[in-house]
Symmetry: C2
Subunit: 320 residues, 2 copies
Amino acid sequence: MAVYTDISEDDLKHFIAAYDAGELLSYKGIAEGVENSNFLLHTTKFPLILTLYEKRVDRNDLPFFLGLMQHLAARGLSCPLPLPRRDGALLGELSGRPAALISFLEGMWLRKPEAKHCREVGKALAAMHLAGEGFEIRRPNALSLAGWRELWDKSEARADEVEKGLSAEIRGEMADLEAHWSKDLPAGVIHADLFPDNVFFIGDQLSGLIDFYFACNDLLAYDVSICLNAWCFEKDGSYNITKGKALIEGYQSVRPLSAREMEALPVLARGSALRFFLTRLYDWLTTPAGALVVKKDPLEYLRKLRFHRQIRSTSEYGAL
Amino acid sequence: MAVYTDISEDDLKHFIAAYDAGELLSYKGIAEGVENSNFLLHTTKFPLILTLYEKRVDRNDLPFFLGLMQHLAARGLSCPLPLPRRDGALLGELSGRPAALISFLEGMWLRKPEAKHCREVGKALAAMHLAGEGFEIRRPNALSLAGWRELWDKSEARADEVEKGLSAEIRGEMADLEAHWSKDLPAGVIHADLFPDNVFFIGDQLSGLIDFYFACNDLLAYDVSICLNAWCFEKDGSYNITKGKALIEGYQSVRPLSAREMEALPVLARGSALRFFLTRLYDWLTTPAGALVVKKDPLEYLRKLRFHRQIRSTSEYGAL
């Protein structure tokens, strides 16, 4: 639940006046998102999301995130669109935080996605990869090999508190991934966090993608591997090959994966499982008990990582 | 921040189908309210609030609360209106909780209300008192003299932890209030919790009253005294007589207070200060550290109580 900064109606009225957004009618803090404070606004013109960027978000990254949403929307991808101020800027300031007004995207995220939804997600991810072409600002992936190493250095000493032998296992995994990571596959703008709560549906129709605050430049197939991890495992930890097949087929129907991208999927999926394992492990070890945040179990991603390690061929994911 | 129960879009779609409310487009948990879980819904017809009643609310009270909103709205008071289901019921069930769909009231609560807003609040409170006439369900005030005694019995032993001498002071205050409480003043339905966050404005125009979940039958002038406590003190604890005058004048312009109600105000205001002091004291002593709730300082209301104790005449509140 995320409303870290309260705002007064006076400050908000003043903030809104810089936009062609009508008169403010109401605003409610919304209990979604983890990094930022979000409010749902009604004005005399349209509903809007107001996002206040909290300290965990690097201010220097905001032109990338906001510019990317604008770029993707202009190329037909359904995603939130930052509203420009009358002076053209996408970013203002409110209650001492960088703040943006963003179009409100109707739709709901699915608590229990099915294979048909995974297919739509695959299509939308590929459409995003194509729409991202030509976006000129660059942002390296802070959570790839080098970033994992940094996170691991901060957690390794206490890793065996979570599970005995974890320290040796992850050390070996990292060395192996560093040795086998594919560096020359097709790259571009990736979402990097396309979990179910970032994909909206109205009925079975995908209505849009949200939350581009981990987006960056990296291998496109790595983004596919993130979705395999995020969408195709059941709560009991089992991999659902029907969902995996639907997701990969959906993706390929819009942007075919090359043979080399296909081959690389198991290693990429180990990497993306490791990425979420490491951030969760770090949060697990450093979040004080009783904090206003739900700690996510890092072991969920350790189990996924182990699953990917025993994959011998991409066909085991359901790919043809 | 209040979203205690998550809901799935499937359950919600099923729930909504019992209403003539259009198709669901989106829902967001909102970070307002302390007792219940609230969601803001967009449908193809109109925005709505979905409230899930959590365990602190007695299910037997719900027909009073929902019926009251319907009664008040039908008499022209601007307040949220429960939407009846196709079968006529105001209450359904969702995620194992009693749940209602309620019209969305535009407006914002004022973080820094001024005297002109206090006047509007006084008018709206009086209008609510008049509109409440004829409402047939009754609900005694659980937080009046007998309820205070119960709360006090649970807190007295540890009261001196909060301030030395508190135990003796409150014991004396309670005895004094029990001896001098006016029982035969005009009574009716009171809001009983009309704090700034329960009154919406658009610009300087009051757009409606919300949150009737403490409403009950009690002395009307007691409700005025709650508003004096809630609206007319500054952050530094000082009483703002300009605001008090505006609030009382606003009230009187719609429903004149009798001489006996006027005379009773200082004792009633001591009572309402004691009421909020006692619930805050109880929460203060019983809420575990690190809980997901902001503990409100009980001493704020002790200071207000002491202020009212030294009032010699209602004119000191700003009343003519």
